[in-house]
């Protein structure tokens, strides 16, 4: 199973994620993102389908995280579960499950402006995938 770890720098935060597969890595990175925003639990009562393309895996990861931020920031939607239907290094097709955002039930700890390309790292090793991405808060 993959996992994520929150990285801290003076002014900003990041996510280090691992996964045996690219799918797992993407799910862990998304969980890390939401954990920074809020500790709230939510159920996949509604779904949003997401399709992302990119030139390579690093940009794909950044676009994926920014897509989740977009769902949260623009649509009053609180993402909670991530189902990757298809993932290659250039394309993701996924379903994001979650609830309508309710500040009472989903207390927000902090807002994230965006996932950045700064010192972005994504690599496939013998034990699977590993990535690091920094966020602008």
């Amino acid at each position: 199973m993959g996992r994520y770890r929150i990285l801290e720098h003076t002014a900003d935060m990041g996510i280090e994620a691992t996964g045996e597969t690219l799918e797992e890595l993407l799910i862990q990175a998304a969980r890390g993102l939401m954990a920074i925003i809020s500790g709230a639990e939510a159920l996949p009562r509604e779904e949003r389908s997401v399709e992302i393309t990119a030139g390579e895996s690093g940009e794909l990861l950044v676009n994926w995280l920014n897509e989740i931020l977009f769902l949260f920031d623009s649509g009053g939607f609180f993402p909670a579960e991530f189902i990757i239907e298809e993932a290659t290094e250039n394309r993701i097709k996924a379903l994001v499950g979650g609830e309508l955002f309710d500040p009472e039930r989903h207390p927000v700890d902090r807002e994230i402006k965006a996932a950045t390309y700064h010192q972005l790292k994504i690599e496939r090793g013998e034990e699977g995938w590993k990535a690091r991405v920094y966020l602008d808060l």
Binding site: T10, H118, L137
Partner: protein
């Protein structure tokens, strides 16, 4: 990796050219601040160096005393690029396009308002939306109206009855950067913007009721309408989700453009395009839209600040006279004319975590301030103080008319929370006469004073270097945070 810095004088340091640098780095810092930078912000110094590798940079890659690690460009950086040879980089502006500060003065003394401060803080917290998902129910924005906001900036808000014509005279660029092209803004950015116009946001953004604690420069203070003990209000926010989306959209465009134009990047976040390319034109058009959105945002919030004061104090606008002293951007790229090495040049000046600081006599300094210089607003942390400065000819000559922008964090959020654990921060601030209202659960602990550099040190360096002149110090009384 250790970065070589050479001391020039008590507040200037040089990062000599090495590797692929096309120019040297110039860092403004005291001995003490440089020690901290070398110990903990090596990466920020490396970023100053990275910026110096970009094509068409004019003069050095400049860093202000509040510099810290950013994305690609350091926060607290200034970089000017030549129209023909240079580039524009969305990372050199940042995600929060036209994040900025607006200062209002009031006819009242702080002491007259102090007895009603609690009600005032509550009213401001209620009337000015802060935190995720919060917005005014009485402000509905159609797609057409949003396009007008992007074109007209603060003027749009004034036309809708939020504030007066005279407010516009005291905003950088009159509250609207020219060249805004809404067709270069994506639907996603427009969608994010629609529900977020007129909102404060969270993190280090704030709304503060303050008192003038100390006047440092009588003449400039008089010109700015500031007096000892006076009540002021500071608004610190930017272009919200619209700006973040514009930045993200154009980083993708610029990643492609950098490959297309063969620009070598030490860090992908520095991706950019030649200023004369279509990609640059599109970004500049979209960036101006986001900047104008931010000006309109601060204009709307100003109107709700006035409304809150009127509600709580039962006074009319002519008694309160809550007028705009100035409104400055500290995340922006702008076309400006500067004299460099004796020649007049048209430059694209990137200020990321840096403030324009035009000197006395400059035509873009509002008439009321032309004899003292453009007001510069430097927020500090919520427990100490903020500063008002004016621009100087020193800044115009040495830093393309730029100075610092704030305090800058010294503790990570985690470290701040650890320091705040077991303490009642609200009560500690209340004991100092500062009320706080915050929407985010973690905000108060993460934003404690100790998490920030002492802004007094930062403005001290700026003044000593002659790239800014201190006018007054403001002390917080009530702080509204997202």
């Amino acid at each position: 990796m250790s970065i070589t810095v050479e001391k020039i004088d008590t507040c200037r340091w040089r990062i000599p050219r090495s590797g692929k640098m096309r120019a040297e780095g110039l860092v403004f810092a005291s001995e003490a601040l440089m020690k901290v930078l070398q110990r903990e912000e090596q990466q920020a110094l490396e970023q100053v160096r990275n910026v110096a590798t970009l094509p068409g940079l004019v003069g050095p890659s400049i860093a202000m005393p509040d510099i810290h690690w950013g994305y690609g460009f350091p926060i607290g950086g200034v970089a000017a690029f030549d129209l023909d040879e240079g580039v524009v980089s969305p990372g050199g502006v940042g995600y929060d396009i036209n994040c900025g500060v607006r200062l209002l003065r009031c006819a009242l003394a702080a002491a007259e308002v102090r007895p009603r401060l609690k009600e005032l803080a509550d009213a401001l917290f209620r009337n000015v939306p802060s935190g995720v998902g919060s917005h005014r129910r009485d402000l509905k924005l159609s797609v057409q109206a949003e396009r007008q906001v992007l074109k007209k900036g603060a003027r749009w808000a004034v036309e809708q009855g939020f504030g007066a014509e005279e407010d516009l005279r005291h905003i950088e660029e009159g509250g609207a950067i020219p060249g805004a092209e809404p067709e270069f803004v994506s639907d996603r950015a427009l969608e994010r913007g629609r529900t977020q116009l007129g909102t404060l946001g969270s993190g280090n953004h704030f709304l503060e009721v303050q008192q003038v604690e100390e006047i440092h420069d009588e003449e400039a203070a008089r010109a700015l309408g500031l007096f000892q003990g006076q009540l002021t209000v500071t608004i610190h926010t930017g272009s919200r989700g619209l700006g973040h989306q514009v930045c993200d959209d154009y980083l993708r465009v610029m990643l492609q453009a950098s490959r297309k134009y063969g620009i070598e990047l030490p860090d992908r976040q520095l991706c950019c395009a030649p200023l004369r390319s279509p990609e640059a034109t599109q970004y500049m058009g979209a960036m101006a839209c986001a900047a104008n959105f931010a000006f309109a945002n601060r204009q709307l919030i100003t109107s709700w600040v006035r409304e809150s004061f009127e509600q709580v104090l039962g006074l009319g606008p002519s008694d309160l006279r809550l007028s705009v002293i100035y409104d400055v951007c500290h995340n922006i790229a702008k076309w400006e004319t500067h004299t460099f090495q004796g020649k007049e040049r048209r430059l694209c000046v990137h200020r990321k975590g840096a403030t324009r600081a035009f000197p006395p006599g400059h035509p873009e300094t509002p008439e009321a301030y032309r004899h003292v210089g453009q007001p510069v607003l430097i927020p500090g942390d919520m427990g100490r103080y903020s500063y008002v400065l004016v621009g100087t000819s020193g800044a115009f000559e040495e830093t393309f008319g730029s100075t610092c922008h704030g305090a800058g964090r010294i503790l990570s959020r985690h470290a701040a929370k650890r320091q705040a654990r077991g303490r009642n921060i609200e009560a500690e601030l209340a004991a100092q006469g500062i009320l706080i209202r915050a929407a985010g659960r973690a905000t108060v602990a993460e934003e404690i004073s100790e998490a920030y550099k002492d802004v007094m040190e930062v403005v001290g360096v700026v003044q000593q270097a002659g790239i800014g002149k201190i006018v007054a110090r403001l002390r917080p009384m009530a702080v509204i945070k997202g």
